[in-house]
Structure formats: structure tokens, C-alpha cells
């Protein structure tokens, strides 16, 4: 990962036009990634487009949860609840009890998730630390149990025929085929640009990727403002922050609402691609995985959240042949991480800098000791 940091440093020092060009190339690469079918990266046992979409929803969720856990320091163990609220709002309005198009359902879904975040946050954000974790854990389960037991919401059977995003079939793009050694353009197997169908899942990935880019953009703007500072101050020392004029409760509620908003958005994307949702799609385990994604990636760094989402969602799909060992390997990896890199794979830059400063200090002290 130090390679990653070094690369990031080098990119930062480039002149602005070069930086923009580099970013554009990177984004373009991400968009064509499922068409390239690169060996090694491409999942052998499952559709790569679908896997990339799943990874994207995890990344999006991790970005949202990073605001709550990473920036504001609130441990939320029921995040799947917001994800479910987003997905079910689309399901109910689009298929269960209405026939609104997907595009119209999404704004309602994110607002519903945001409101559920406020409803959960208003009473619970007055408690701290462990208590908050327990209460949110309960919230996730309450949402799931409500879904199972409410016939109006489809019960255990769930909701079918959830609307898909609107298709605009503009043109076909071919893929690369590597099966015969050097890559050849495979004209038999094409993806229609923005046709949200059943078999080809690449357009869903494109949509999710676009959403991620937008979310990351605004995430950066908010983090680099008084709002981000207020969150961090609250995380560092809530009482001191309050005494320095930060209305901590308001800012914690804001973090909760924004996290819920992004979680709901991810849920809405998921529902639109899946076409079918049931309570089984939102188990407690998912909440734990979401938190794991943020922690593994590095709390408080949006790129860390991205890496965390990829690690948690991609690797199990890539190494499906070890399916039976999946949880064991994951657990061992988490333990190794906790021992060797407790601040996550990609901690916030400042943490990296602080560590360097500490090391320098230690070296200095040792130096004087030898003299």
C-alpha cells in the first residue's frame, strides 16, 4: 500500500492538466473494465459485469458508512437497514403498490432512507459508543423482521418485478476475447450501451460507477469544509468539540442522515438491477460486512472505503473455488490486518504522516541515546 501512497504523492505533484488527463484515463479504464475481460482480474466462475456491479454497491455503501463511522466516529451496526429501506421503497412504489418508473422511485427512496436515518438518529445519537452500536444493531434487525412479517411489504416472499432503470439503446460496444491467447475483438458478444436488461449487467455497473463518482465528489467537498472538521472534532473529543462551539448532536445527526441517504441510494440501485427483493437480501451479516469494508479499508479515508468495498465484495467472487473456506480465510485476513495494519489498508493521509513523524522522533531519540 505504500506503493499506492507513493503513486498518489506523485500524482499530486503533477501539473493540473496532466492530473486531469490522468484522472480521465483512470475513469475511462474503470468504465471499459468489464469489456476488456482482462485475464486474472476477470472472475472465472461468475459474470464479470454482475460482479463489478455488486462490488460497486458495496463501495457505495462503504462510502456512506465511512461518513458515519470514519468521519463522525459513530459505530453503526445496522447500516443494512438503510440499504433495505432504499431497496424496498423502489420495490413498493414500482411494483408492490404502484407502478412508478425506477427513475422516479429513486429520489423517493433516498429521501425515505434519509428520513429513517433521522428517525433512528434523533433518539439514539444521545447515547455514545457501545450503546449506539447496540441500538443500531437492533435497528437493522427491526427493519428485516418488519419486512418478513408485513404482508403489505411482501412478507418473506418479497417483491418481484421491481422496475429497472430506463433503457436508451444507443449503440453496441464489442468486448475483447482472450481465449485464443492475444486478445481479439469479439463482435458476437456485444453490450448495448445503456440497455438495462436481464442478461447483460454491464450497464448497471456503468450506472453505479457514475453514482460512485458523483458521491465521491460531493464527499470530498463536504469533508474539506467546516462540516468535515466538525465531524472530526466530535469524533476526537465530543465534549471539547461542544465547548468549542460545535453543535455536536446536530452534526452527528447530519452524518447519520447523509450515510443513510447513500445507503438508500445503493439499495435502490441494487433493487433496480436485481428485479426481485426479499428480506433474505438484507441479513445482519451484510451490516457486519459493510463495517468490515470500512475498517479494512481505513476509517476516515474515502479511498480506503473504496478499497475496503472492493476487498470485501470482489475477492470472494474471484476465488469462488475456495467458497467453502471463504469465511475462514476472511476471518484470518481480518486478524492479520488487526495485528499488522490496525489503521486499515489505506488510512487517512494524516495518520500516515503522523506515523512518519512518530518514527522520525523515535529515530532521533535513539540517535541521541547512542551519543
Amino acid at each position: 500500500m505504500s506503493l499506492f501512497t507513493a503513486t498518489a504523492d506523485r500524482v499530486r505533484d503533477l501539473p493540473k492538466p496532466a492530473k486531469i488527463a490522468l484522472w480521465a484515463l483512470f475513469v475511462l479504464f474503470l468504465f471499459v473494465l468489464p469489456l476488456l475481460n482482462l485475464p486474472i482480474i476477470t472472475t472465472p466462475d461468475s459474470d464479470f459485469g454482475g460482479v463489478l456491479f455488486t462490488v460497486s454497491t458495496y463501495v457505495l455503501v462503504a462510502l456512506g458508512l465511512n461518513i458515519v463511522v470514519g468521519y463522525a466516529g459513530l459505530l453503526d451496526l445496522g447500516y443494512v437497514g438503510f440499504y433495505a429501506v432504499g431497496a424496498y421503497t423502489v420495490g413498493v412504489l414500482g411494483s408492490g403498490h404502484g407502478s412508478l418508473p425506477w427513475l422516479l422511485c429513486v429520489p423517493i427512496a433516498v429521501v425515505a432512507a434519509l428520513i429513517s436515518g433521522l428517525i433512528l438518529g434523533a433518539p439514539t445519537l444521545r447515547v455514545r459508543g457501545d450503546y449506539l452500536a447496540i441500538v443500531t444493531l437492533g435497528f437493522g434487525e427491526i427493519v428485516r423482521l418488519t419486512l418478513v412479517n408485513s404482508a403489505w411489504l411482501g412478507g418473506a416472499a418479497g417483491i418481484t418485478e421491481v422496475p429497472r432503470p430506463p433503457s436508451i439503446s444507443l449503440f453496441d460496444v464489442p468486448r475483447l476475447d482472450w481465449s485464443a491467447g492475444p486478445p481479439v475483438v469479439d463482435l458476437d458478444n456485444q453490450t448495448t450501451f445503456l440497455k438495462f436488461g436481464i442478461s447483460d449487467q454491464i450497464p448497471y455497473y456503468w450506472l453505479a460507477l457514475l453514482v460512485i463518482i458523483v458521491v465521491m465528489f460531493f464527499d470530498k467537498l463536504i469533508k474539506d469544509s467546516r462540516v468535515g472538521r466538525a465531524w472530526e472534532a466530535t469524533r476526537e473529543d465530543e465534549d471539547a468539540a461542544e465547548l468549542m462551539g460545535v453543535p455536536t448532536f446536530r452534526f452527528k445527526l447530519l452524518a447519520f442522515a447523509m450515510g443513510a441517504f447513500i445507503g438508500g441510494l445503493s439499495g435502490a440501485l441494487f433493487a433496480g438491477k436485481q428485479g426481485f427483493i426479499s428480506p433474505d437480501s438484507f441479513p445482519l451479516l451484510l451490516s457486519i460486512l459493510f463495517v468490515a469494508a470500512v475498517v479494512v479499508g481505513g476509517q476516515g479515508n474515502r479511498w480506503g472505503a473504496v478499497i475496503g468495498g472492493i476487498v470485501v465484495a470482489y475477492f470472494p467472487e474471484r476465488f469462488r473455488e475456495f467458497q467453502d473456506w471463504r469465511v475462514l480465510v476472511f476471518g484470518l485476513a481480518l486478524m492479520a490486518l488487526a495485528i499488522f495494519r490496525p489503521q486499515g489498508l489505506l488510512p487517512p493521509r494524516r495518520t500516515v504522516r503522523a506515523k512518519k513523524a512518530d518514527e522520525k522522533l523515535e529515530a532521533l531519540e535513539e540517535g541521541t541515546a547512542h551519543v
Binding site: I222, V227, E232, M244, G245
Partner: protein
């Protein structure tokens, strides 16, 4: 060291002029169960003065700070700031009214840089929210620039100008104490409460700090100072209030306090052998 150029809260006070009372502590009692932490304490702070609040360990000095800044609600009695009772105001609201404080045990935002710490304080005076931050509205840009500039000024004033980008927790102890003062000043207070700002300092550092505190007062701030070092308190304060076991036992000019037998017995300490 440069001056704090912006926002002088009031005209610089001259020690002899008659001034209005900026803060009045009126008959404040605070009980924790059976323990009486403050017992009918009354005193006031004049605008533009440096008031020393002294007393032996456990006398209730920090508790008094906590009542004034909204951390505790008094069991009875009231605190008035510029004539208004603080009532049940929240901590951040009291800060915005104009009371800022530092902490006896340093409580900085360790994983934020020195500049960011001070900027959090400066944000207390800012009004833009998420919306304007998200779309970088002109007012947000302006406030952000002003906050950054003011924070840097305050760091310069406290002699931390070249450490703006250091993490607060990596700063040496003395710098952390000074950073706390800078952060408190950034909130734009009228009354600055310093809780043992010189604790752990050597005599030279203490002298520098006291000069700094005098300089802060000369900018027009009113200062309330808790301090253990008697010599120091005598040198810098205009008036002194003495607490012991939660009661006010004396109040007056430094010379009067020094001569007060009750204070000498309580604070300066009577050897147990002498007392018995």
C-alpha cells in the same frame, strides 16, 4: 509575535477605569449527591480585567469553570453573562455567547492538525452549512478563507505559526497548551477562561506565558485564570478570588490576598504539624 488583529471584542480595558461586570456568579451551589462541590459561591468578573481563581486541590476551581461553561447545571443560584442568565443553555450556545475555555488536562483534537484545531474554534462564528459547502457557494468560500487566515494569525500570535500542519498530538507539551489557548481565542470570546495554562511549565516558560496572557488582555479580552503558582498569580492578575472546599474564602487585590491570614492558612498551606 504579531497582534491578534481581527475582532477585538471590546475596547482595551485599563485596569483602573470603572467597568461593567461581564460575568456574575450569583450564589451558586452545586451538589453531587451528598458532596457539595460549590457552596453558595458568588463573585464577578469586570470587563477587561484578569481575575485569578485560586485555591488548594479540590477546592472547586475547575468545577466553577464547568458551571460557567454549561458542563454542569448549578443546583441553585445562577450565572449571568453580560446581564443574561445562562439558564439551561447548551455548551455550544454559551461558547457562541462569548465564553471560551481551555482544559486542565489538555483536550485537543489529536488527529487533526494545529491549524484545523484552531479552525474548528473559528467555525463557531461561521454560519454556512452543508448545502453551501457542497456547492462551494461564495459565502462558504469567504468564511473558509477568513477562518483559515484568522487561525493562522492566532497560531502566529501564540508562537505556533510554523507548526500549523503538525498533528496536534505530535506537538510538544508546551505547544499543546498554547494551541488550546489559540483554539479558544478563535471562537471569538469576550471572556477567556484558562484552566492552569502554565501547569508543567518551567519558570521561564511560565513568565513568557504570563506576558502572553497580559497581551491577550491588552487586546481587549477579559481573562479568568486558574493557576497554582502563587507567585505567578500575584504577578499577573488584577484581582483574585480564593476558593476552599467549595466556598469562597477571600476576594480582593493580590496584595490583600497575600496578607489575608485565612488564605495563607488554606492555600499557602499550614504544615500539618503546625496546625495540630
Amino acid at each position: 509575535m504579531s497582534d491578534i488583529k481581527t475582532q477585538p471584542p471590546a475596547q482595551a480595558g485599563t485596569p483602573t477605569a470603572s467597568r461593567s461586570r461581564i460575568l456574575e456568579v450569583d450564589n451558586v451551589t452545586l451538589r453531587f449527591g451528598g458532596v457539595v462541590a460549590l457552596n453558595e459561591v458568588s463573585f464577578h468578573i469586570n470587563e477587561g480585567e484578569i481575575l485569578g481563581l485560586i485555591g488548594p486541590n479540590g477546592a472547586g476551581k475547575t468545577t466553577c469553570f464547568n458551571v460557567m461553561t454549561g458542563v454542569y447545571q448549578p443546583t441553585s443560584g445562577s450565572v449571568r453573562f453580560q446581564g443574561d442568565a445562562l439558564g439551561r443553555r447548551k455548551k455550544f450556545e454559551i461558547t457562541k455567547l462569548g465564553i471560551a475555555r481551555t482544559f486542565q488536562n489538555i483536550r485537543l483534537f489529536g488527529n487533526m492538525t494545529a491549524l484545523e484545531n484552531v479552525m474548528v474554534g473559528a467555525d463557531a462564528r461561521h454560519r454556512t452549512g452543508v448545502g453551501s459547502a457542497m456547492f462551494r457557494l461564495p459565502r462558504h468560500r469567504q468564511e473558509e478563507a477568513e477562518g483559515r487566515e484568522r487561525a493562522q494569525e492566532l497560531l502566529d500570535f501564540m508562537g505556533l505559526g510554523n507548526k500549523a500542519d503538525e498533528l496536534a498530538r505530535n506537538l510538544p507539551y508546551g505547544d499543546q497548551r498554547r494551541l488550546e489557548i489559540a483554539r479558544a481565542l478563535a471562537t471569538g470570546p469576550k471572556l477567556l477562561c484558562l484552566d492552569e495554562p502554565a501547569a508543567g511549565f518551567n519558570p521561564a516558560e511560565k513568565r513568557t506565558l504570563m506576558d502572553l496572557i497580559r497581551k491577550i488582555r491588552d487586546q481587549g479580552y477579559t481573562v479568568l485564570l486558574i493557576e497554582h503558582d502563587m507567585k505567578l498569580v500575584m504577578g499577573v492578575t488584577d484581582r483574585i478570588v480564593v476558593l476552599e472546599f467549595g466556598r469562597k474564602i477571600a476576594e480582593g487585590l493580590p496584595a490583600e490576598i497575600q496578607a489575608n491570614p485565612a488564605v495563607v492558612a488554606a492555600y499557602l498551606g499550614v504544615d500539618e504539624e503546625d496546625a495540630s
